[in-house]
Each structure stands twice: as C-alpha cells, then as structure tokens.
Symmetry: C2
Subunit: 192 residues, 2 copies
DNA sequence: ACTGTAGCGGAGGCACCCCTCCGTTTCAAT
DNA sequence: ATTGAAACGGAGGGGTGCCTCCGCTACAGT
C-alpha cells in the first residue's frame, strides 16, 4: 500500500552484493534456482543449480549459506511479485479481481512445485511471506465476500490451499488446468 | 463387473512367491513401501524400504527388480481396493455415491503423495490402473450427471485431477482437507 | 531325516550430493 | 597503474543411495 509495502522485498534485496561480478552471479543463481526448484521441487541439487548458473559451487554457498537461504530467497521474490499484482487488480470488479489474482498465483513456477512445503514452513521468512501474501490476497477475498460474490463459510486459507493443490498437480495441458481451477472456484462462488 | 473385474489384481497377485518365507517378505516389503512412499513420495530410498521391512536389500531387488516395479505394485494394490469400493457404493444415491468414492480416493496414502506422478505414468501397469480407475469411477460420475446432479461441461479426468491435487496438498488438519474438498466439489454440482 | 534348490542378506563398487577450504582471479578505489 | 580486499571456483572428504554378486540359510518334497 505504501511505496515499499513488503518487508520481504527488502530482506531479499539487502542480500544482493555490490560488486558487479558478484551481483551478476547472485542474479544468475536466483534464476537458476527458480528453474531447478520448478523442475525438481525443493530438493533440487545445489550443485546442479551452480552448474546452471555457470558458477562454482563455492559461489553458491557464499551467497546462500544453506539450501533454505536459497529457497527462501526465490520464494520471497515470487511472493513479492504476487503482492504487487494484488495492488494492480485492486480496482477491478470484486470477483474478477479475486480470480485474476488467483490465476496469477497459479503461474508461479517455484510456487507450483514447492508451495505445499512452503505453506507449512516455519522459518521467519516463510512466516513473513505468508503474512504478506495474506495481506495482499485476503482483502480481495474479503471484498468479494462483502459484495455477495463469494460464500462466507470458508476461510481465505482454505481457498489458498485449494488453489495451491490444484496448482501443484500435473495436467494434460494448461487448458485443463484452467478448466479445473474454474470448476473449483465455482464452488467458492456465492449463491450455490 | 464380472467376478475378476480388474486385471491389475491378477498382475500383482501373480508376482507373489509361493514359499512361505518368501511370501512373508514380499508382503512386508509391500507394506514397508506403502509407508515409505506415503512419507517421502515416489523417490523414497529403497534401502530404507528394505530396512523397514526387516529384509536385506537383495531380497527387495529379487522381488522388485526396479523401483518402478515396486511402486507399481503398491499403486496397483490401492487402485484395486478403490475399484472394489466403487462396486460397494454403486446402489446409493448418485451424487452421494460419487462423493463417497472420491473421499475414499483421498484416503489412499501412497496415492496421496504420488498420484500426480502416477497420473502421467506411461507404463503398461499405470495405463491399466488408470483404465481400471476410470472404469470404476467413471460410471458413478456419469450416473450423477444423468441424474442432473453433476454439471456436464467437464470430464471425469478433470474431476479426478482436481481431487488428486487437493489430496496431495498439506492441510492444517483433516477437517480442513474435507472442507476444501467439499468446496471444490460444490463447483462440480449441477445448478450453479 | 535328507537334500537340492529357491531364497536370503549384506559387502562392495559406482555415482551423486553436500559442504568446506584455500590458492587464484577480478574488481574498484586511489 | 597499483594494490588490497572481495569474490571466485573446484578439489576433496564424508555421507548416502543404487544395484550386483555370491557364499550362506532354510524350506518343502521325498
């Protein structure tokens, strides 16, 4: 809501090194990790991440002392994007805003494979991310509910986990994924 | 539909050894594998499976030459149970029969963690399992649709993948899982 | 009870991954 | 251009998992 709304983005940005080569490697590692996590889940090989980034394994460990640091950084980056997107859709029609946000939620690839674990992560950053995400998406849900477009016997957490589950599943193609998501969301609509 | 409706059960049973000790080990391995797959997904350590079963690693490999053999056997066993259950509910009210079957689907633990992969498996057994499952559950869906209880713009495959996704996700507790499943199924109900 | 054989278990070779440590390289401030 | 400090990369030690192979065990048929 303010200029720097999400503490998460600061945490991540603050870790980025100042020297040019170091910064480039840092970015390459994050991008490589995003790919690797998307493909293999949170257990992806860190040596593979370093290889993809074209960087020595030592460099990976200097930037991200543990697997958790790396994973959290990738995750936080996506959460951050998601939070920004919530602002973008804030002035659309309530139900439309909610579903647009949820579809964006689905698009995040790391999230796709790893969000289930992340939803139960207990570290400081995971908690912060979850809070940010709830702060961003919760009001959209609330608004849809007040407009009589969403049923009021479920919690935002229920909704998010439902979508996360569908998101994490393999489908024949993207069309099927969207179709299934729409069906499930129809269950969330008010008026049966 | 006939006395031995599911080819899958024969495949699995035919592999069970005749000698007493061997049969005991075979069963112990299947049970251990079911546990291990449920906990760690399809990538569970085979040495761990052997340890759980109280059996040497060599014995595991004699009974199940590859990881895929073991996984398929566990999976086929559960599919088989599921198929039987479809017969049990066949004479209930259409919508109730369908949801009862889907809830049972949710209960299978191996399935829970691994069905996403399995839904895309291309081996002969996976195909046979999928076919059996569709043969068992499809008619339930069809019947609910004909009774005007389920919408007709979605496929049984859509429904199954939706439920599988929700099934594979972590929830705070079983109550939340059931709640979310009900919401999603409401999207499948006919009449908005 | 005897005995041939199916079945057993685990040592060991190979591969991969984790993470640390340190000699070498590269940046950027002067 | 010089130079000190920051950053680099990858070798290597320890761990775990995969799978094979073969000497030992115990079942079941006579």
């Amino acid at each position: 809501m303010t200029a720097q709304p999400f503490p998460v983005s600061e945490i991540v940005a603050s870790r980025r090194p100042h020297r040019k080569d170091a910064a480039r490697n840092y970015d390459a590692l994050l991008a490589a990790a995003r790919e690797a996590f998307a493909e293999h889940g949170a257990e992806a090989s860190l040596e593979d991440v370093a290889r993809r980034a074209g960087v020595g394994i030592g460099t990976l460990y200097r930037n991200f002392p543990t697997r958790r640091h790396l994973f959290e950084s990738v995750y936080a980056g996506e959460v951050n994007d998601l939070c920004r997107f919530a602002e973008e859709v804030a002035d659309r029609e309530p139900w439309e805003a909610l579903t647009a946000w949820l579809h964006r939620f689905v698009d995040y690839t790391v999230t796709k494979r790893a969000i289930r674990e992340a939803l139960d992560g207990e570290s400081e950053i995971f908690l912060a991310c979850r809070e940010s995400m709830y702060a961003a998406g919760g009001p959209l849900f609330e608004r849809a509910r007040e407009a009589g477009r969403a049923r009021d016997d479920i919690a935002f957490d229920d909704l998010l986990r439902m979508v996360a589950g569908i998101t994490a599943t393999n489908f024949l193609d993207d069309a099927q994924r969207d179709r299934v998501l729409s069906i499930a969301l129809d269950g969330v609509r008010a008026g049966r």
